[in-house]
Symmetry: C2
Subunit: 154 residues, 2 copies
Amino acid sequence: MNNEIKELVDRYIAVSFMVNRTGENLIKNEVGSTLTNDQHYTLRYIHGAHSCTSTELAEVFAVKKSAITAIISRLWEKGFILRTRNEKDRRVVYLSLTEKGERLFLETETKIHKLVESFLNEFEQAEIQQFIQTYEKLNKILIERKEVELEECL
Amino acid sequence: MNNEIKELVDRYIAVSFMVNRTGENLIKNEVGSTLTNDQHYTLRYIHGAHSCTSTELAEVFAVKKSAITAIISRLWEKGFILRTRNEKDRRVVYLSLTEKGERLFLETETKIHKLVESFLNEFEQAEIQQFIQTYEKLNKILIERKEVELEECL
DNA sequence: AAATATAGTTTCACTATTGAACTATTTAAG
DNA sequence: CTTAAATAGTTCAATAGTGAAACTATATTT
């Protein structure tokens, strides 16, 4: 096997693990004690979509619907989320943010933005541009891979 | 605030979230039913260090020592890990892999290597080289940031 | 009308995590 | 030397996230 590639793979595995860990921890510091990271990501998605369903969240986060129900219920208990039945199809429940949820998300989002900005600023703009571009390409490849695997499961 | 940077920050947040999620899920598929991802990462670290302590693992993974005790105990129950008391300082316990643990790690590691290699191969070597280099730089910045925050807590 | 599919929930079992109390051991101070 | 403080690791209770399976309610297909 090509040795150069082996080295790249090793480096990728090591660095992606560390950056994820550290990044998640930094976010936890910002998100603070009101929310967990997963709860914050959930608010983020609903905020971006304005309104969505559990099934949609389960697909995006790649977990089972029962996992989503649990997260949503906790957010709902804290008053951050609204559950609205679709009157056309009474099986589906639309999820959206309450005033309180919206406010909390925007607050923490600002903090996270400043955090991410502060370390992206330590790079040349061109370098970070290139980095994110490759990162997005990687994302596409991973998504395709996932779709192929799903098809194989038929 | 600079609008170009805001866009980069948004893209970074979105793509890093998605790649992490998808990546973790792909690894879960490879690691299979014998181990969780965290357990695999733990085996990986111990394998690389040959031998280490709980305190060391807690620092690297950025979690409390009680979290490590739990993971290690599960791995120990399954016979993947050896706990050896240091005779010079009887408080410390050295962790190492059993034959069985070593074998399991190498098997799953090979699979993960192939997986990572398969998608890194979809890039030009130069592009992925640059990507990993920037990623590593980011890692350094994050580590420095963490150290600064730790000092502030004094 | 009956069978099947879909959206979401509930329950159970398990893993990861923190914080606090605790044991055993080592190091530092008086 | 003895006591006080520090360190390594464990235990325990509580909380969050997760998947699997059974379940409810509603919609679609046959």
